[in-house]
């Protein structure tokens, strides 16, 4: 499998670093979008850890995914500073709009955009501030049009 070749090369690139597991998991997710179950035994073998330990780490951290995400991942801030300016309504709106779509909704607890909320992040690259449900719909339409 091509993705396992990628996994093997990422493990090889990091395995001798102290505390290599998180850099490896980030590398795999950045390359593939998620951490496939087949990667777990490879990591376990090369780091001399048990598969249970690897699974334990992957499942502990909210950032790591074990299944492929949608075409885009939309992370909407659900923390207090955004709540104070309508963040809950935005999150509910986004969750509803993205349900069953090709895009993934993920709650996130603070993007550090607390003076210009509600905020959201698309694919760890694009940020948007002061997002209203109407602005969200426009962003969504733009993402869908770019397909």
């Amino acid at each position: 499998m091509e993705s396992l070749v990628t996994v093997a090369s990422i493990i090889e690139a990091h395995r001798l670093r102290p505390g290599a597991l998180l850099p490896i998991l980030h590398g795999i997710q950045d390359a593939l979008g998620f951490i496939p179950p087949e990667a777990v035994p490879l990591i376990a073998r090369d780091l001399n850890l048990s598969r249970a330990e690897i699974h334990g780490v992957i499942s502990y951290y909210a950032h790591f995914r074990q299944t492929p995400p949608g075409r885009h991942v939309v992370r909407v801030c659900c923390a207090e500073a955004c709540q104070a300016v309508g963040g809950q309504a935005l999150a509910e709106h986004a969750r509803t709009r993205l349900a069953g779509s090709e895009l993934s909704f993920e709650p996130v607890y603070c993007l550090g955009l607390c003076a210009c909320g509600p905020a959201l992040q698309i694919d760890e690259t694009t940020l948007h501030a002061q997002v209203t449900p109407e602005k969200f719909d426009a962003l969504l339409a733009a993402l869908e049009a770019a397909a």
Binding site: Y61, H63, C82, Y109, L113, A115, L127
Partner: protein, 530 residues
């Protein structure tokens, strides 16, 4: 993040492509324009503004030097465009891409008058009334340029530290009165001395950049706007305690900050001497902001809190003596060494010395970073700087210090901003200086439920009061909100158990927002069927 110097070399070609030459500046007179590349500015459209400026300059045949600086911290004015003129830097904001042709027409490259013109940046009262130390260069320098950093006074602290004995550096930090800026406010000098006094072949400096508290963004601003200041602080710490390896643990929610740090490291040359720094990314766990959980995570494990002792200063990362400090703590050190401990200690009040970068957030009109000495009141920040709520409605509650901080009613807005004064209120703290304002539409019972829910989501699971207590807390508050007010006593008892029995601040401080909401806003916990 496009924090790069773009030289727009237009020779009047009428092409549809952007005539951009990327690279170092040429020896021709060009106006320098600053368009922030900070994440908040980007979220408000700074990239589109930068692109529009490049296009308009090319169309007019004007050569510009476009610098992607950090933010000055006046978030409501972002994107804030600055132009370097003989009168100093002139600010325009908030600018949207459509304003750009008009700005050129108004002669903004010479600081010309325009409806968006704010005058000289340094004279904007909101900024002029601050006293910035750790954040003094954010928004001023080009974050990717070490040359710029040095030209703006950076590097002096490290230069002095290199001529000092390790114990003398630690003494300077101790004498400055600097306390940990992550929230615990532990005296930095004591931590540094412990690591120095613990012999080991390998020691580590770890920067805690897991800025998870909602309402805080000073670490992010510093990483994106003045990363060399942090690197300098870490290198000084390395000299002080005898460590040659540093790690910066940045939360995964801050990809732009990670890029900015890596770019700074790539351009650091021999600035740090023998001291090596590596950036490590977290993975979306709030509790990893707790220092021992952070160390576990750095070691490649689940971010679960360790029992103390041993202190990280004695047995920390990979079992070695480790100095772990918050980013603002480390970034305060270059200034302390460059200007002397006494100059730092002179600022502040009581046992809270120096300055704290406060962050105004949530429902606030003029939100942003306010670095001032300890001693102002909360009201000063909320109204004199913040201008009241963004919605125009009365401010009803303010949460200070992140998700584990107290909800304060208006009757407590005159509290002085220092660690001890805040600790006297509901056991609350100043935390990392985040201040989240809520107007009168807030439901404090709902906020209390959120505090418990957040703890349930983020608990590492190691201790029972936190793991189970938070889930029971959500259930109990749900019953109260459904009208069963007899459950309030149960909630108070549950909070007592969590406070007394939890291993770390996650479980032991979650009751602070819950109980403060209950105490100051009891009407919100009344019979309220949802």
């Amino acid at each position: 993040m496009k924090v790069e110097t773009i030289t727009t070399e237009s020779v009047g070609e009428s092409t549809s492509t952007l005539p951009l030459v990327r690279g170092a500046g040429k020896a021709i007179a060009r106006t320098t324009i600053f368009v922030p590349g900070d994440a908040a500015a980007l979220a408000l459209g700074a990239d589109a503004v930068a692109a529009a400026i490049a296009v308009e300059a090319a169309r007019r045949g004007i050569a510009l030097r476009l610098v992607r600086n950090g933010t000055r911290g006046m978030v409501w004015l972002e994107p804030l465009v600055e132009v370097a003129t003989p009168r100093g830097r002139i600010a325009y904001g908030p600018v949207v891409a459509a304003d750009v042709p008009g700005l050129f027409a108004a002669g903004f490259l010479a600081g010309g008058a325009h409806a968006l013109c704010l005058g000289p940046t340094d004279e904007i009262p909101w900024l002029a009334r601050q006293q910035r130390l750790a954040c003094r260069r954010i928004g001023v320098v080009d974050p990717r340029s070490l040359v710029d950093y040095i030209a703006c006074g950076g590097g002096e602290g490290l230069r002095r530290a290199r001529a000092m004995a390790p114990a003398a550096i630690v003494d300077a930090v101790t004498e400055s009165g600097l306390r940990g800026r992550g929230g615990a406010a532990f005296p930095a000098g004591i931590k540094w001395r412990t690591v120095l006094a613990t012999p080991a072949a390998q020691k580590y400096i770890v920067c805690n950049a897991d800025e998870g508290d909602s309402g805080t963004y000073s670490d992010r601003m510093l990483m994106e706007g003045d990363p060399y200041c942090l690197l300098e602080g870490m290198a000084i710490a390395g000299l002080a305690v005898g460590a040659t390896q540093g790690y910066i643990y940045v939360r995964s929610e801050y990809p732009h900050a990670v890029d900015a740090l890596n770019a700074a490291l790539a351009g650091a040359g021999d600035f740090l001497g023998d001291f090596k720094v590596e950036v490590r990314k977290g993975a979306g766990s709030y509790v990893c902001g707790e220092e021992t959980a952070l160390l576990e995570s750095l070691e490649g494990k689940r971010g679960i809190v360790r029992a103390k002792p041993p202190l990280p200063a004695i047995s920390g990362l990979f079992g070695r003596p480790t100095l772990i400090n918050n980013m603002i703590t480390l970034a305060s050190v270059p200034d302390i060494l460059a200007r002397g401990a006494a100059a730092y200690r002179e600022l502040g009040c009581g046992r809270s010395r120096g300055t704290l970068p406060f962050q105004l957030a949530g429902n606030i009109k003029y939100g942003g970073l306010v670095e001032v000495p300890f001693g102002l009141t909360l009201r000063n920040l909320l109204y004199d700087f913040g201008g009241g709520s963004r919605s125009g409605r009365p401010l009803r509650a303010v949460q200070v210090g992140g998700p584990l901080g107290a909800y304060l009613p208006a009757s407590q807005f005159d509290t002085v901003l220092d660690y001890e004064a805040f600790a006297a209120l509901d056991g609350a703290g100043l935390g990392h200086g985040g201040i989240v304002a809520f107007d009168d539409t807030v439901d404090l019972a709902r906020q209390a439920r959120y505090a418990m829910k957040f703890c349930a989501i983020e608990s590492c699971g190691k201790c029972t009061p936190c793991r189970i207590g938070s889930t029971r807390g959500v259930e109990v508050i749900d019953r109260i909100r459904a009208g069963d007010t007899r459950q309030i006593a149960l909630l108070e008892e549950l909070c007592e158990t969590m406070t007394q029995g939890s291993l770390c601040a996650m479980g032991s401080m979650t009751p602070i927002p819950v109980l403060s909401a209950l105490r100051h806003f009891p009407e919100d916990f009344g019979d309220k069927r949802t």
